[in-house]
Symmetry: D2
Subunit: 433 residues, 4 copies
C-alpha cells in the first residue's frame, strides 16, 4: 500500500461535504487520506468555495496531514484516485422541484427517487455518471466508485452494465435501521443481524436478530417503525404488517398507502411548496452557517437535512475495502443468483461481506412470497428506464413509465413523460438530438 | 382402447352445454363418446333438465349411439370417466354480481376474473374443484380434468398443487385469436403460429407468423385488435403498442387503461346494472329457447353469450389427448422452466404440443422485458389467493389483495376484503369456521 | 415462396451422396428442389465426378426438373441457397485412421467421434465449418445449414456460438431407433414417442411409448437393443440396465464397458486394421460400383456403409422447415433451459417441434439422476475442445483431453495430445502458426 | 445464554480426542464448556477409558471448571447438548482395511474417502449418523451437529436431506491450506482470502489473495503444493496446472493421476499393507502413550496421525456459532444456488460467513469451466450412494459405483460391489434384511 489515499468527491460543493470530511478525520488511523479533491461544475463554484473553505478549516483544526483541493477539473481529481464518490445533483434542486410537482399535478406520487420523479432524475443523472466512469476507466481504473447519487440502485446498475468501473451503490437507510435497532435494544451494532431483501428504496427486512434473538415478530406486532426524515410518518395497518413477513422500508408507503401519501403530498404542497423547495431553504441556511470563518466543524443543523449517516456509511465502506475487514454491510451490488427471479446483472440491495477485493453478496434466507411481484415490477421499470437513459429512446421511456406500479395508465404515463421530458430538455441531450 | 368414451360434464346445466354437445356430435368419428353425463347440483336441477332434454334431442337427431345421462350424483358421473370437464359457477350469477359491484363501489375495477372480483370467485371455486378432484382421484384416477371454470389459471394451479389429478386449464381467448387471424389473413389455422407469453387473461402474443411471414409489426402498427364480447373495446395508444413487443390480451386493458375502464364500468353499471345482470337476462332468454321441444340444435343466440369457441377448444383438446395428435394448442399448464422468473409449479398459459401423455409446453422464444414485472406481480397475487382459498386464512387473503396491481392501497384492500368475504359467507366455509 | 429450392451439399463427393439424391427424388412433391449443387475440394474432384455423374443419371431417370451442378467453387454453390448440408471429412479417412490408432497405442478408446479421436476430428473440422459459415453469412444469410459432419454436436455448438448462421445438427441414431421400434412393434412411427435425454452420441431414451403404452420397462428388462453398424454389439449387464432409467445409446458402451470395448478394438485392429481402413475398403468398392454408367439408382451395398437413414433424416427435416410441418424430430440444437445443469448455449440432442421458423426443443420430462454427471463431464470436455479448435490454444486442448472421462490421466492426455497434434499438423493452422 | 456449554463427542474414544480437549482448554474464555461428554460403544469401552482418563488429567491440569463424563449411553450425552461432534468409525480400522484392499485387488484406487472405499464407508456410516440425528431431534433439537466423520460431504448431505438437525460438515484440508499459505507468506490468516470451489475432497482453490495480492498465478506456476499426510506427494504436470484455473486439492490426484496413484498404492500395499494397517500401528502406539498416568497434555506424536487441525477447525466453528463472530470459514453446507449446476440440496464445500444463526455460504466468483463436469460426476455418484445407504437398494448402489469416475466399467463396479457388500454385511442391515 502507498503512503496515503487519494479521494475524489464529485459534487464536492454539496451541503453534505462537511459530514464526509468529519468522517475522514475521525477514521484517519484506519483510512489515511492524504489528498481530498472536492470537484464541482461551474454553476456550483460558489458553493464549492464556501464548503471547501470550511473543509480546510476542519482539517486544519484536526492537525492531520490531509490536503484539501478544490477544483472544477474533474479529470485532475479523478487521476490516480483510490476512491471516487459522487453526491451530485444534475439540474440542482430546481429540476427536483419539477420531478415532484408535475406528477402531483396529474394525481400521481411526486417523489425524488420513487415513481415518475425518480425516473426523470435517472434520465438526467445516468449519462453524467457514465461520463465520470469514462474518466475513471482512463485515469484511475483501479479506483472504487462509491455512488451515493440517487436513484442509487438504478445509477449503480447503469454503471455495472455500461462501464468497467468497480462501483458500489450506497444508501443511508440500512445503516439508519441498524442505528435505530441498536438504540432501541441498547445493543451494539455488531450484535445485530438484519437481512435486507429487495432493491434500493424498495426493501423488506425479513430477519432481525438482536444478540441472537429473533425480534422480527415483536417489531411487526408493535408496528414500531424506523423512518426517514424525508418520508411522512403514517401508521401501518396492523393486520397487514403482521402477515407481511418483513419490516417494510418506509419508501414502501408510496406503494402500500398510495392515496394517503398522495393526499399528504398535495396538502404539503399547498402549505410549503414541494419538498425540493423546503430542502432549498434548509440548504440556504446551511451555507450561511458554512460561511462563518470561525466554524471549524460540521454544524449540528446539518442533521435536519435528511441524509443522516451517509458519510458514516461511506467511510465505513472505504475502511472495509481498504483494510479487507470482511464485515457485513448492506449495499447496492449486482444480483448474481441472490434473487433468482431477477436478471443476474440487476442491481439489488443486499447484505454483503466486504473484502479487500470488493463486496460479496450474501444469499438471502427468507424471501416472503408476497413481495416478489412488486420487486420484479419495479425492477422491470428500472431496467427500461436505464435503457432509456442510455439510448434517449422515447418509446422505451414510455414503456418504463407505463409499467411503473405507481402510474395508473398508459395515457397518464404519456402525458407525464411529455411534460417532464420537455421541462428537462437542457439535461437530456440524448432525447433531443 | 375401449369401445367408447365416458365424459362427465360438471355444471352440465349451464347454458353452454349445447355447444359442447354439438362439438361431440361433429367430432364423433375421431372422438367416439358413448356416455355423456351432465351433472349439476340441486339448485341447478331445473336448468339441467331443460338443457339436458335439448342435449338428448340433439343427439337423437344426429343418430349417433351416445347415451346422455342427467344426474345430481357427481360421483356416479365421475366413476370411470375418461374426461371430466367443469363449467360450474359457485354462487351462480348472484355471487358474480357482487364480485363486480363491490369493487366498483370503492373505485376499483369490478370484473369476473380480474382484480378483487376474480379473487372472490377463486375463493369460492377452488375448494369445490378440489372436492371434485378428490372424487376423481378415487373413482377415475386416469381421467383428464379439463377445467373451463374461471379464474381458469388459478383454479388449474390449485389443482396441480393440491391434487394428483391430471388437469389442463382452458380458455377461449387463444383459439379466438387464431380464428380472428385466420379470417383476417384468409389463411388456415394450421399455417398460423402465435406465441403466447404470460398467464391466463394476462398474456401477450409476441410472435405472429402467417404462412411463414412475420405479421406482428403490422398488427401492432395498425392497432387492429382481437377482442372479446365481454370486454369493452377501447383504442390502444399507438406509441405504446408499437414499443410493447407483443399484442396484448384484451384483458390487459384493465391494467393499462385502468381509469378509462373503470369509468366505462361505472357508466355501464348506471345504465344496465352489472355485467352479471346483463348475462342473467341473456341466459334467461336462452333457457326459454331451450325449452322448445322442437329445438334440436344449438340456437344461434348462444353466440351472443360470450364464450365463443369454448366447446371447440375442449373437443379439440380431447381429440389430441385421445389420439396423440401432437398438434400445438395454447393451454394452461405447469410452468416448469418456461418462464424462468416464476416458480416451477406456477400455472401459465403457453403453447403446448398435445401428446397422448398430455401437453408438453413449448419454450417461449421472445419475452419482452417490459412485461415480466406485471406477470410476476399478478402471479404473486394469484399464488397468495390460492393459498388463502385452501387455508381460509384472512391474513393471506389480505396479502393477496393488497399486492394486486389493481388495488390502490392496503386500506382499500382491507375494506374490499371484509365486505366481499361477508357477502360470500355461504360459499366460504373455510373462512367462517 | 419461390418456384423451387436451391440446395448446396458441401462434401458432395461423399459416398453418401446417392442417398440424399434419392431422398430429394422421393420427396419432390413436398420439397421441390430445382438446383442441387454438389461441392468438393480439389483433392475430392475425382470422387465428385464419379458420384456426381451417378446423381445426374438418377435425376434423369426420375424425370424431375432438378438441375445437378458439380463444382469446386463453394461460394457459388452457397450463394442464394435455401439449404446447405455438410458431409465433409477434413483430412479424409487417412486422418481418421490416426484418430483411431494413436489412442489405441496408449491403451485408450480410439473412436471417430468419442474420446481423443473425436476431439482431433473436432479440431480439424470446426475451423472449416466456421469458414463455410462465413460464406453463408455473406451469400445466403437466410439459409438453413444442416450439419451432418461429426462430431455433430460439437460442430453444431461451435456454429451456434461463433457464427450467426441458422444451423441444426443431425444424427442418424434417433431416426434409427424409431425405425427399430416401429419394426419391432409393428407400429407406424407417428404412433411412437421416444424421449431423448443427453447430447450427441451420449443420450439415454427415458420414455418409450408405443401406441400410448409405456414400453421402456420391458425393453430394459429384455435387453433388446438397438445398435449401429459401427459399434460392436456387447451385452448390457441386466441389473445395471434395469436400474438405469433409460435405454442407453450404443455409443455409451465406450463409457460403461470401456475395458471390453478397448479389448475388442485392439483385437479388431490386429485382424482388420482400424475402422477407418475397413471403411476405406467399403468406399473403394462403392465408387467402383458408382462408375458403372448403367447404374441409375442408389446401390444396395451403400447400406453396409453405416450411415443408414442419414438422408431420410435430412430430407425429413428440410420438409418440416420448408412446410412448417410442426412434427417432432430429435435434433442437435441449443439447450436453452432444457437441461438446467448445462450452459444455455450448449448444444444438446433433444426432441423438437420443427416449425417453419426452426425447431423448438421440447422440455424433457424424465432425467435420471444417474446420468447427469456423465453428460456434464462430456459436455465440459466438448466446450473446452471447441474453444481449443477456435483459438488453437494447446493449454485449453490439454484441459479438454485431461477432463475427458475416457482419458485415464493428465500424463496420458499430454502424450496423446502431442502425438495427435503433430500428426494433424497440416489441418491445424491455428495450432501451428 | 446459560452458564456454560454442554458438548457431546460421539466416538469419544478416538485417538483424536486429546486434540479437541486441548482446543476447549485453550479457547475456554470465548467458549465456556461446562460439561464434556465422551461417548463410545461397547467395543470402544477400553479406548474410551484410556483417552477419557487422559482428558480428565488434561482438564485437571488446566484448573478449569469443565466436567468430563465418559459414557456408553449416547442419549444421556446428547440430551440438552449445545454441540454434538462425531468422530466415529463404523467397523473400525478393520473395515477400512477392506475399503482400501478390495478395490486395489481389482486394479482400482482403494482409498478411505474417494472411490469405492469411500462409498462403502458412506454405506456403513450414514445410517448410524441418521440414528444419532433421531436422538438429537428428540433430545436437543437446537444443538449444532458438527460432523467430522468421513466421507464428510456425503454424510452431511445425508443429514441435511434426511433429518431436521442443524449440521455442518468439517474437513481439515481448508484450514491446512490457510496455515500453509500463512506460513509460506508469513502473513496472518485473516489477511488471506482463498476461494474454494467444489465438494469435500474434490475442490479447487480458484482465488488466493495474500494481503490483497493475487498469488494464484505464482502458486500454479511454481507448483508449490499443499498436501496432506495421507496422500502421497506426486508432482503436477506444469502445463496442466498453469491452465487449470485453480489449485487442486491433493485428493484430486486420484482423478488426475490415476495410474500413478494406483501404482503407488500397490507398491505401498506390498511394502506396508494398507493405509488402515499403517494407521492401526500408529494408533496402538498412541494409546500406549495415553495410558501413562503422568501424561497431562496432548502428546506430540498425535500430529503424525494425519488429521492435523481438525480440533482447531471444530473449536473455531463452535466459537463463531456461539459468539456470532461472522468470520469466514470453509465448510460443508447445503448448496442453495452457489454452484448452479448442482441440486440446491447438494452439500458443497465453500466459504461461509459464520453467524450465530449458522453459516451463510458465499457466492463463488470464479468457477473454471473445466472442473464443472468432474464435480457434477462425483456429486452424481454421491447422491446415488446416499440414496443407497438410506434405502439399502443394491440397484442404486450399483448405479452409484458404475457412475463413479474412478470405476472403469459396469462389470468392475458389479464385482466390487458384491465383494464389498459381502465383507461389510454386519454393518449393512438395510442391505441384508
Amino acid at each position: 500500500m502507498k503512503q496515503g489515499l487519494k479521494i475524489a468527491v464529485i459534487g464536492g460543493g454539496s451541503s453534505y461535504t462537511p459530514e464526509i470530511v468529519e468522517g475522514f478525520i475521525k477514521r484517519y488511523e484506519q483510512l489515511p487520506v492524504r489528498e481530498l479533491w472536492l470537484v464541482d461544475i461551474e454553476e456550483g463554484r460558489h458553493k464549492l468555495e464556501i464548503v471547501g473553505e470550511l473543509a480546510k478549516r476542519m482539517v486544519a483544526k484536526s492537525g492531520l496531514p490531509i490536503d484539501v483541493h478544490l477544483t472544477l477539473d474533474r479529470r485532475r481529481a479523478i487521476e490516480g484516485a483510490d476512491f471516487v464518490t459522487t453526491q451530485l445533483r444534475v439540474g440542482l434542486l430546481e429540476a427536483r422541484k419539477w420531478d415532484e410537482h408535475i406528477p402531483n399535478l396529474h394525481g400521481v406520487i411526486g417523489q425524488e427517487t420513487t415513481g415518475p420523479g425518480g425516473m426523470m432524475k435517472a434520465l438526467r443523472t445516468i449519462p453524467v455518471l457514465l461520463g465520470i466512469c469514462r474518466d475513471i476507466e482512463e485515469l484511475s481504473p483501479n479506483a472504487w466508485l462509491l455512488n451515493f447519487t440517487n436513484p442509487a440502485g438504478m445509477v449503480t446498475e447503469a454503471i455495472h452494465r455500461y462501464s468497467k468501473v468497480k462501483s458500489i451503490g450506497l444508501c443511508n437507510a440500512p445503516i439508519g435501521m441498524y442505528k435505530w435497532l441498536s438504540g432501541k435494544y441498547d445493543t451494539p451494532i455488531d450484535r445485530i443481524y438484519a437481512e435486507f431483501v429487495g432493491i434500493n428504496h424498495l426493501h423488506w427486512v425479513t430477519r432481525i436478530e438482536v444478540a441472537g434473538e429473533d425480534k422480527l415478530p415483536e417489531l411487526l406486532d408493535r408496528r414500531e417503525e424506523f423512518t426517514g426524515k424525508n418520508v411522512p410518518a403514517t401508521e401501518w395497518d396492523p393486520d397487514f404488517l403482521r402477515t407481511l413477513g418483513g419490516l417494510p422500508s418506509y419508501y414502501l408507503k408510496y406503494y402500500y398507502m398510495t392515496p394517503e401519501m398522495l393526499a399528504e403530498q398535495l396538502e404539503s404542497l399547498r402549505a410549503n411548496g414541494t419538498r425540493a423547495e423546503v430542502v432549498k431553504r434548509v440548504e440556504d441556511e446551511l451555507f450561511e452557517l458554512y460561511k462563518d470563518p470561525n466554524l471549524q466543524e460540521k454544524p449540528k443543523q446539518l442533521e435536519k437535512r435528511g441524509g443522516a449517516y451517509y458519510s458514516e456509511a461511506a467511510v465505513n465502506l472505504m475502511d472495509s475495502l481498504y483494510n479487507d475487514r470482511r464485515d457485513i454491510q448492506t449495499l447496492n451490488v449486482t444480483n448474481g443468483k441472490i434473487l433468482d427471479f431477477l436478471p443476474e446483472d440487476a442491481c439489488i440491495e443486499v447484505n454483503c461481506v466486504v473484502t479487500g477485493q470488493g463486496p460479496i453478496p450474501l444469499p438471502v434466507t427468507k424471501v416472503p412470497e408476497q413481495v416478489k411481484g412488486l420487486i420484479h415490477a419495479v425492477k422491470t421499470y428500472e431496467r427500461l428506464a436505464i435503457e432509456a437513459a442510455v439510448t434517449g429512446d422515447r418509446g422505451i421511456a414510455l414503456q418504463a413509465l407505463a409499467h411503473h406500479p405507481l402510474v395508473p395508465s398508459v395515457s397518464v404515463a404519456k402525458t407525464l413523460l411529455n411534460e417532464m421530458l420537455e421541462k428537462n430538455k437542457p439535461y437530456l441531450p440524448a432525447f433531443f438530438s
